[in-house]
Structure formats: structure tokens, C-alpha cells
């Protein structure tokens, strides 16, 4: 339940903030979430990855299909990828990776600070 809540919180926050904030919001959001909310490291990593990757993937798929791949298929060729679909994958992966590590960093900093206080 907590995991789902964190997931939804991150999806909502990034989707909203991205509309007017730079791309690195996708690192900021999971970082802050797990800085404030306790979680096991692996879950923090996976939930961050999943949440942000969902946002980027869903929006990328939407833009890819509504445009018929008119831009993504061309940009894919520039990056030696077979088609825009592969670029959706790359986009998803990259955002997930950034978010995962950001979430993990938030988590570990939290545990470091908390254990410091307890000690």
C-alpha cells in the first residue's frame, strides 16, 4: 500500500512538475520522496524507476502514436536505432535509471541521517 502510494505520488508529482520545470525533476522527485519517507532500498530503487519510467513511457508512446512516428522515427535513425519504438524504450530506460538512483540516494541519505540521530 505504501509502495503504491509512493508510486502514485511520484507519477503525479513528476507529470505535473515537468510541465514547467526542467527534465531533471525526474531525479528530484524520487530523491525528495525517499528522503522523507522510509523504505527498503531495493523497493525505493524499483518504485522510483517504475514511477518515472511510467510517466516518460506513457507520454512518449502518446506522442509517438499521435504523430505517426513522424519525428521519432527520424530521430531514431540519427541515433542508429531501428525506429521510434526503440526510442520509446531508450527514453523509458534512461528516465528509469536516473530516477532509480536518485530515489536510492534519497533513501540512503535518509538512513544515514536517521542512524546518526539514533546513535
Amino acid at each position: 500500500m505504501k509502495t503504491l502510494l509512493n508510486y502514485l505520488l511520484m507519477v503525479a508529482a513528476t507529470a505535473l512538475l515537468q510541465l514547467f520545470m526542467p527534465w531533471w525533476t525526474i531525479a528530484l522527485v524520487p530523491f525528495v520522496v525517499y528522503l522523507l519517507r522510509p523504505e527498503r532500498p531495493l523497493v525505493a530503487y524499483a518504485t522510483s524507476l517504475a514511477a518515472i519510467a511510467t510517466v516518460w513511457m506513457v507520454y512518449a508512446i502518446f506522442l509517438h502514436t499521435t504523430s505517426g512516428g513522424s519525428m521519432s522515427d527520424r530521430v531514431a535513425q540519427l541515433f542508429f536505432l531501428p525506429n521510434g519504438g526503440a526510442l520509446v524504450g531508450t527514453t523509458t530506460l534512461l528516465s528509469g535509471l536516473v530516477a532509480g538512483f536518485a530515489g536510492l540516494a534519497g533513501h540512503y541519505i535518509r538512513s544515514a541521517v536517521v542512524s546518526e540521530k539514533q546513535a
Binding site: 526542467p22 527534465w23 507520454y59 506522442l63 513522424s70 519525428m71 541519505i109
Partner: protein, 815 residues
Amino acid sequence: MKFLKAAISLLVALGLVFALNRPWGALPALGPFISPFTGFWQNGEPLLADSTETVELKLDSLRESVTIRYDDVGVPHIFATNTFDVYYAQGYVTAKDRLWQMDLQTRAAAGRLSEVLGNATVEMDRRSRRMGMGYGAEVNLKTAMSDPVSREALLGYTAGINTYIRQLKPKDFPIEFKLLGYEPELWTPLKCMYMLEQMTLTLAGRADDLAMTNLMKALGKDSVDDIFPNYPKLMESPIIPAGTPWNFTPLPIPKATAAKPDSGSMVSWRSLPLSEPNVEGLGSNNWAVSAEKSATGYPILANDPHLELTLPSIWYQVQLTTPDMNVYGVSLPGIPGVVIGFNKNVAWGVTNVDADVLDLYQITFRDSSHTEYKYNNAWQKTRKREELIVVKGLDEPIREMVVYTHHGPVLHYEGESHHGPSLAVKWIGHEPGNSFKTFYELNIAKNYDDYRQALTHYVGPAQNFIFADNGKNIAMTVNGKFPLKWKEQGKYVLDGSNPAHDWQGWIPADQNPHVKNPVRGFVSSANQSSTAPDYPYYINWRFAPSERGIRINERLDRMTAATADSLRDLQNDNFSVLARTILPTLLTYLNSRPLNASQKAAYQVLESWDMIHSPEALAPSIFDEWTNRLATAIWKDELHSDSLSFRYPTRDRTLYLILNEPNAVWFDDKTTAAKETIGDIVYGSFKATLDTLTSKHGPMSPAWQWATVKNTEIRHLSRLLKPFNAPPVQNGGGGSMVNATTRHHGPSWRMVVELGPEPKAYGLYPGGQSGNPGSPLYSSMLDKWEKGELNPLLYLASPKDTNPRLTSTWILTKK
């Protein structure tokens, strides 16, 4: 341990963000680029819906409100109430569709590419600076801004572009800005002038002076006069029909001065900021048939300018209306108004005049400070203009001191490269003028007199302005500001110290070659000689080859009851006058030679050919390669140097040699001990042609089809981003054909206008209205262009017109 984990995970996260937030070499910063919220994903446009939505925008600095109706091709039909607003709206919509193109082209002209592209373009920028593009743009701006209408138009156009730019967020930037990692900058009226300078450089920025001077030195006057004559020897059909009377008293022609500078050998043109000489396919056609020749009872006019074929397209269609104006046609993104088009009463078009309006002067400097140069037996001071070239990645700009003589800027300094003296350029691009005003007055012209008046403002690049009106007039004016020259002045490098070598004034505008309603019932131009040799002034010693003009005139001569479709058909004519002229003779030389099976097969293909360069034919591939090789085989041994500029004689002179001087010494290949005859050269080049084609495309097969071998390619303006190129083009034609499609050049806009109570017009270009590769309108006209079809052009009378082709409506109101 916890701290270590915290530190490591934070470092990894920060490292990723950092790495993705900065550009790597040629790669843009990947984070923002790949983000669906800001990156390239935002540039894919939805597939065309039959949108009839109404968009309302509140914009800064508009005077009144403007209505824009879009049609299914993406053409904006602009309805404004005043001059400022109509150009404001034109600037706004052009920027919306073509912002990156406008940015790149003005940067190229201004020598400012390196600011965004870095070191790689420094040499290009230096060349633009040395050519004095900035100087030319500034003097032209001064003239334009001193005229109330031009000023209003330039300010309106600029305000419209800037309103559009200001409201852009990074996610809205055209894809090329995102890829190259820079932001659009605000527009200025000066940039409009840079666009005009760039056009002038493309169309009137080449010179044979260096090559001709080297040839004179290598061959001597008799040979040069013989093989580089001042008028075609074999065939010509001049633009102003021979026999047209010159109804004026010419000015006295300056006396030719024999004193040629002791020039030494001239540097290659490649070291100078000039355009490549003699690019076949860079030219244009236009013609108009009279009311008597047409089925409609009114004149019909056609125009197809041949330029480099690129995406985004060179041209942008637009309709501009105010209470004083209702014009439709194509504009150049970056310049207000319509360049080629029509209104209710008139239609006009342009083709390039190959006038010699760029001359090189040999300069003797007093010393290496370049502060004084010899002129009229005294030392005259130079002026210096420091140019700062800002380079991305360098802390300090590169300083380039450009030295100006009274002729113009110095392009080359003695000792700078292996060959040649210091050279300054005298160029029409530095002459103040107001070309915009010509187009503006044509846009609102009602009759022939308005047309003639409009042309008087024009300086360059000189154009053959064709005209037709509802009063059933047709006309052609070879128009531009032409220097008053002695015969052959500027054919060779001139002496910069001798006042007699200066340009001695101008041909009066009303004495420019001109014809109205000729008895033959049509006017036409295809860049060939402006006039027969009896015109009293010297314009140039060579023009584009005559074949296109000859073919156009033959067909128009025979044409009766012409319609728009007859003219469209002529625009797509692939018949080769060149083949008709030379092929039978060439084949005769092969008759007595031994041919193997594949050579015989090729011979038969050529012999049975209808001389039409259709896309699927094999013969044009053989013929084209053969004629190129033949010219090389004849001339290269005498007229070639690896380090110096040389040039071959014109195609006309080469044909004359083959047909009428078969025993000329030029046929002997000087690099061999044997003495070759014309037969040996023809035979040898034929065999080499087949060897080349076989090595490139295998033995003769459908792989030799003309469209495949010609391989017309429409490239993205960057020339780098290949996925933004158009899909491969399969069409016929070629450099010497009316359908002048070569590998990279061709008809960049085709238009046919039937004059009449209501104009009926057709047209398209090989691309689309949108410059965004992710838009369905990026290359939407290409298929029809390839097939030689035209779109009907929607000419609206009022913003309330209804038409099934109309899509969205934009209403701009002031904030």
C-alpha cells in the same frame, strides 16, 4: 557504511544527471533532448485531422486585428487592414513554419555560423566577412529604411517574427535548435537584408575572371578569343527576340583600355569567397503566351526557378491582402512580400540573368600594413572594418580585419596562398538598392505601367522579369542595375590602379533589354543570352547554355489554344536539344570502329532513343556521361591545372568544334605521343562511359535507368541530418532540359497563372509549407512535383470565403 552507500548512490545519481544535462561533442544534452516534455518528442506533429478549428491569439504590437485562413496545403491566407499588420502576420506565420531555416540562412550570410556550430565553420564565416556581406546588408538596410513603405514592411515583419519567438518555450523550439543545442535569437530588419545578400551571392556571386586570366596567359589572345567567344557560335535563341528594335539613344561606351595588369597566375576561385562557377541546374525558366495564343482569350504565364533542392523548401506560399493589395505567390522566408506570384490583374515571375556584376581587381599595396594601395599613380588610403567572429567553445572572438579599397573588399592577399596577387572585388551585392520595393510594387501592380515602374527600384541579382496582365499585355525585361562597361570589361582580372578600369556608371534602367507584346505571341527566358549581339551594351561574354531556351521557344512557337495544362506540360518537357544537336554526329564516328557486344548494345540503345530524358530510359544515362567525358577528353589536356583556376569553353563552343571543326588541334590528347583525331576521342570517351557505368551500376540493365543514375536528392538544409532528407526522387529531366532537375538542383517552384476576370493559378514546390520534419506538411507536395502535376492555388477574395479546402482559422488581435 551507511555514509558510503549514501555518498555512492548520490554520486551516481548526480553523475547521471550531470552527464545527461550537458552536450557531448556533436551530441546535444541528452536529458532535455530525450524528455517527452521538452525534447524531440514535442516536435512530432499530429497527423492531419480535418481541422476547422478557430484559434484566437492576442499579440503584442499589432495595430488592428488580422484573420488568417489556412488551406489543406498549409498556405496561410492573410487578411489585414494595413501594411504593418499584413507583414506582421507574414512574419509571424513564416517564423512558425520556418524559424530554423531563417536563422541558419541569415547566420550563413552574416558569417555567424561558428557562434552556434563551433570551429568547423570558421573558414566559411571568414569568407562571408571578407566578401563584405555585412557591408552590403547595411548599405541596403539604410536605403530600405529611408523609404516609408519598406520601413513599415520591415518593421512589421520583424515585429511578427519576434512576437512568435518571444512566446516560445524551449520545448517549442524547432528540432534543429534542440539537436544543435542553441536557442533562436530575435530577428532584426538587417537580417532581411542578409537574406537578400545571400540570394545575390547565390545567383550573382561567381566570376570567370581568374580562370580567363590564367587561360589568356597559358594560351594567348588568339586562342582565347577563338574558344571563348562573346556570343554563342552554334545556336542561340536570345531572351529578347533578335530584331527587337532598341528605341533609345545609347550612352557613349567607355573606351576599352588594352593595358592588362601584369597579373601573373591567378589563385583558384576556391580560395576566394565566391560561389562555384558554372553549376548546371542553377537557372530558371519563365514564359508567357499572348491572348491570341491562348484558349482563354487572356495571357497565361509560367515560371519555374531552379535552385538547390532542399528541405525545408526555399519557398513559402502565402496570400497577402490589405485594402490595397491581394497577392498570392511564393515568398523567401526572411523577406517580407511575395517574390513570384499574381494578383487580380497581373502575374509576374523571374529567372536569373547571367550578368557580369562581379569583377576582380588586382591591387598593389604600398606595404604589408595594407593601409595604402596604388591608384591613379598615387597612394590611396584603404578603409578597414574589423570583423569579430565569435566561435562556440572559444573564449575570445577571432578578429578578421577586412580591408576595403574604393572597388570593394580585398578577398585575397599576395603571398596568402601559393598563387596570385592581391585581389579586391567590385560586386553588385555592395550597391545600395531597394529590391523589396520592386516586389512590393509588383504585389500591388494593376497594369503594365506599374510593372515597369516597379522594376526601376531593383538593383540585383539581375532577373528576367516576365509579366502578363488582364489588359492582355505580355512583357519581358532583363532587369537589374548593370554597370556600363566596355566590351569584355571584367572578362579578365582588371587593374585596380587604373581609373579607366573602374565601372564607369550604369546602363540607364529604361535602356535595359525589354520587349512588350512581340509579334511571335510569347515571351520567354531560360537564362540564355539576354539579347542578340546588336544590343549596344556589354552584359557578359557568356550566359547559360541555350538548349532550354531553344526548346521552350520551339514549342511555344507551335503552340495554339494554349491552356494552363499546356504550359504545365512544357515545364515537364524532358526532350534534349543537346542530344538532337550532337548525338547523330557522335554515332557516325562510332560506325567505323570495332564494337564488342555490350558496346553494340549501348550503341543501339542510343540510336533508337527518342532523345527524351524520361526516368525509366537507359539512353540518357549513357548520353549524359558520354557528353561530360567527351568535353573532358577534348579540353582537359590543355585546359586544366591542379592549383590554378581554369575553365572549359562553353558547351556551345564545344559543340561547334565537334560539328564544324573536326580537324581542330584541340582533339589531340597532348599527354600521349600519338596524334588523336576527333574519331579517337569520341570512340575513347564512349568506351570509357560504358566502363564507368558498368563499374558503378553493373552491366547494362534497368539499373542504368536515368532516374537511378541521375539520383536526384532533396537534402535537409544542414546536409548532415540525413533522416530529415526527402525520400528518393524518381523523375526525368536534366541540366539542359526544360525540366532542369539535376542531382541537387531543379525546379524549386512551378507556377502557371491563367490571367482573366478571375485569375486561375496552379503551383507547387518539391517540399511542404512546414519546415518541421515531424509535420505532415514537411514534404507533402513532393509526390505531385515528382509526377509533374500542379496544385490549384486557392485565391481568396475575402476572409469569409467558403471552400472545402480551407482548414483552420486564426484570428490575431492586439493585446
